[in-house]
């Protein structure tokens, strides 16, 4: 008995490749949109009836974690170099875009956060305190 050999066509899975491409696009969008400050452990201060406003795409973010370490856009640095770095980051941006987010841990002392605000003021930035609404 003779069996016919079937010709098997090998075709690349185009739709699955489109799926993979879509996943890669998603990956790069996530990496581009978020600043890598997930390692910074901090708890925001609370304020009753605080008037907060939404900040879109702030160029500069200064964080102080629970160990009193200062970070600029996710990178640790010292207080003395903060003013120069902030000035560099803000560059020649118009006044409306010179927002500097302050993500300061609630137990940080004035010896740390006051020089930060002074540095931002010297660099010509607009300070925005990231806080929680106390309910």
């Amino acid at each position: 008995m003779r069996f016919k050999r079937r010709k098997i066509e090998i075709v690349p899975p185009y739709v699955a490749m489109a799926d993979i491409a879509f996943n890669l696009v998603l990956f790069f969008i996530m990496m581009a949109k978020t600043q890598d400050d997930s390692h910074i452990q901090w708890e925001p201060a609370k304020d009753k009836a605080a008037v907060t406003k939404q900040i879109d795409n702030a160029k500069v973010s200064i964080s102080v974690d629970r160990d009193n370490k200062v970070y600029l856009n996710g990178l640790q640095l010292g207080l003395r170099e903060l003013a120069d770095k902030v000035t560099l980051e803000l560059g020649d941006l118009p006044p409306a875009d010179r927002t500097v987010l302050l993500k300061i841990h609630k137990d940080t002392l004035a010896a740390t956060f006051e020089p930060i605000m002074e540095a931002v003021s010297q660099a010509g930035g607009e300070v925005v305190h990231v806080i929680d609404d106390e309910q």
Binding site: A16, L26, A45, D47, K53, A110, V128
Partner: protein, 145 residues
């Protein structure tokens, strides 16, 4: 799970969509929208922090309201005020002042003042219409021969 030309066995080739691929695509779209929604923009309390002018400091010293914040207490014009009464006290002091330069409140903090306390007090100052100015200690390098 792959889609591609499926032989119908009659010599012709038909491309058919497999149902689970559509499910895969729907799942990917769901993840995409969840990620976009979860990246929530930051929101915070803006604050104008004007830099102190040395020339005007002494001139306005006697005119401005001074609020001193420590770890445990708050004082207004060197008089201790309980936190519960702070709003009314400041509102009274700022009552008849309409010009921004008259509504300046100089905020002085001890080195061990926690940020949460500072935020609470400055929040009250802003709510009653005060314009916050920070009084900071100046550091100077002095050469010793």
């Amino acid at each position: 799970m792959a889609a591609g030309p499926v032989s119908t066995g009659k010599g012709g080739v038909q491309t058919a969509w497999v149902l689970n691929l559509l499910t895969d695509l729907a799942f990917n779209l769901l993840i995409f929208f969840v990620v976009c929604a979860s990246i929530s923009p930051d929101k915070g309390r803006p604050q104008q922090v004007p830099s102190a002018s040395k020339d005007k400091a002494t001139e306005q010293k006697n005119q401005n309201i001074e609020v001193a914040i420590t770890r445990t207490k708050v004082s207004v014009n060197e008089a201790d005020v309980p936190t519960a009464e702070l709003r009314d006290k400041l509102a009274g002091l700022l009552a008849n002042k309409t010009r921004p330069e008259d509504r300046i409140v100089v905020v002085k903090s001890e080195k061990d003042t926690p940020y949460s306390q500072w935020i609470r007090v400055t929040g009250i100052i802003e709510q009653v219409g005060g314009v916050i100015t920070l009084q900071l200690e100046e550091e100077r390098e002095v050469g010793v021969k």
